[in-house]
């Protein structure tokens, strides 16, 4: 499931409505008309040192909250090669997927993935009264991390396009020669307006492509495929971030990659 972020920094109202019209022509399924995200940037506290005379190199810690991934906080640092997800939700038998979308897609159904297992609380490893991780960082870890920026995204749309036997001419990953690939799958596009402490900072587009054949496209191919799709659907030009958190890792770290891309895109 390769993902990417495009941040259109000099977006005008017409860029936003234009892109909406453009996508509407493809007859997408509009999944959720109001999603939000909150991205927090923490910087290491310069007064915390190994030795008072040796300054500590600057590091950043990021936390990402996505409204479509409720009660979870994704966190990485700029030195991380893997992410962590914290949860305040407890899984219970009520969370078993009962309702599906009419077409069998379950994008809207809350999955119990990454919830706190009940046995974890039963064993007394947790009191069951968790705090969101970003609030623990701001309240108890101030000696190590200070909150620098909070970037909020709202007024967003979520579009789902069914890509069906789309022939794309993209440069080959190895030789660079133009080759034609046929793609089928689901393309989910989420758009949001970004605000840094109240001022508009750009139009953010989050793209995710899930090939229907379940193939996990290798790192290099991911990028060309996504670039090809963005070109095909005439995405507005902007800062494109499609690096993965750990390019050499074969295990899928979807949320880690996404958090890394937010971190790359939202640097002001």
């Amino acid at each position: 499931m390769p993902s990417a972020i495009v941040l259109v920094q000099n977006a005008s109202p017409s860029t936003i409505t234009g892109f909406h019209d453009q996508l509407s022509n493809e007859l997408p399924k509009i999944l959720n008309s109001n999603w939000q995200f909150e991205f927090k940037i923490f910087k290491n506290n310069p007064f915390s040192r190994v030795d008072p005379s040796v300054p500590t190199p600057t590091t950043f810690l990021y936390t990402l909250y996505l409204s479509y991934f409720p009660q979870k906080i994704i966190s990485i640092t700029n030195n991380s090669t893997s992410s962590i997800i914290t949860s305040v939700a407890v899984s219970s038998s009520n969370d078993i997927k009962t309702e599906y979308d009419s077409d069998g897609d379950d994008d809207e159904v809350r999955k119990p993935d990454f919830d706190v297992p009940a046995s974890h609380i039963m064993s007394n490893a947790s009191t069951g009264l968790s705090n969101p991780w970003d609030s623990v960082l701001t309240s108890k870890l101030q000696s190590l991390w200070t909150l620098r920026q909070v970037i909020k995204g709202d007024n967003g749309n979520v579009y789902k396009l069914h890509v069906n036997q789309l022939a794309l001419t993209i440069p080959d990953a190895v030789s660079g020669e133009p080759t034609t690939v046929t793609l089928s799958g689901a393309l989910i596009i989420k758009t949001a307006n970004c605000f840094l402490h109240g001022s508009f900072k750009g139009f953010l587009i989050e793209v995710e492509f899930t090939p229907s054949d379940g193939q996990i496209v290798e790192s290099v191919m991911r990028k060309v495929v996504l670039r090809g799709l963005m070109e095909h659907y005439k995405f507005p030009l902007g800062k494109l971030c499609l690096e993965r958190l750990n390019e050499y890792e074969n295990v899928e770290d979807k949320y880690g990659d996404l958090c890394h891309q937010y971190a790359q895109a939202l640097q002001f």
Binding site: L61, K72, T86, S119, H120, A125, S130, V136, K140
Partner: protein
């Protein structure tokens, strides 16, 4: 509610940096550094009981254990003043995906020690009565086994009781969701005092020393 077993595997981590606040006249520096506890369920699969020998997996030899569900817990020093029960703010967050060990390192923490808690929990109204024993790694037996096994690390390491006399620690407490919920706090206080009176003679429940429950790390004062 039926009693529940207590089985917790805890890592105690300390910040590896020291906090050197800039001392400015007229400015009170309130920022403190805290130790953190990182806890996971000590699962049955992870527990080998050949009484008196109990064994468990340790993160020192199993980096992969870091991928389990772990809860990070920090606590304030218990509230000061003349009180009849101890009350302490606890902050926690549960990591449900990803490896906690490299994250702890980038967060600024290193593991200090690890211990295992086993016991029982009983529920009386809102009060939780906990009877527990603490186990730590038995380094002597571990060294001997390592010698016998030609330095091949066993999957589970031998443990021993921290308190060799085998006594249980009894703790009676109430979890309150919000520190600001004064009503709930005073209700808990009353309930605990009632329990203390009821159990007098069976267990003499007493308030622990506030300083023993201090989760902070001493701040270094910058030399002028």
């Amino acid at each position: 509610m039926a009693p529940l077993p207590v089985r917790v595997h805890t890592l105690l981590a300390m910040p590896y940096l020291k906090y050197y606040p800039k001392v400015e006249p007229g400015k009170v520096n309130q920022i403190e550094m805290c130790k953190i506890r990182v806890q996971r369920e000590w699962t049955l699969a992870d527990w080998e009981d050949h009484t008196p020998q109990i064994r468990a997996r340790s993160v020192v030899h199993n980096e992969r254990l870091g991928n389990d569900v772990w809860t990070i817990q920090l606590s304030d020093i218990p509230l000061a003043g003349k009180r009849s029960t101890t009350s302490q703010a606890i902050y926690e967050s549960t990591i449900t995906s990803g490896n906690v060990l490299p994250y702890l390192t980038v967060l600024g923490y290193k593991m200090e020690t690890e211990f295992w808690v086993q016991g029982h929990r009983f529920f009386h109204n809102r009060i939780i009565i906990e009877l527990t024993r603490i186990f730590v790694a038995n380094t002597e037996t571990f060294q001997r086994e390592m010698g016998e096994r030609e330095n091949k690390t066993p999957e589970k390491i031998p443990l021993q009781l921290l308190d060799r006399s085998g006594q249980f620690l009894v703790r009676a407490y109430v979890n309150v969701a919000k520190m600001t919920d004064v009503d709930a706090l005073s209700r808990a206080n009353t309930e605990l005092l009632l329990l203390q009176a009821e159990l007098a003679g069976l267990f003499d429940l007493a308030m622990p020393d506030r300083m023993c429950m201090d989760g902070r790390v001493a701040t270094v004062q910058e030399k002028p």
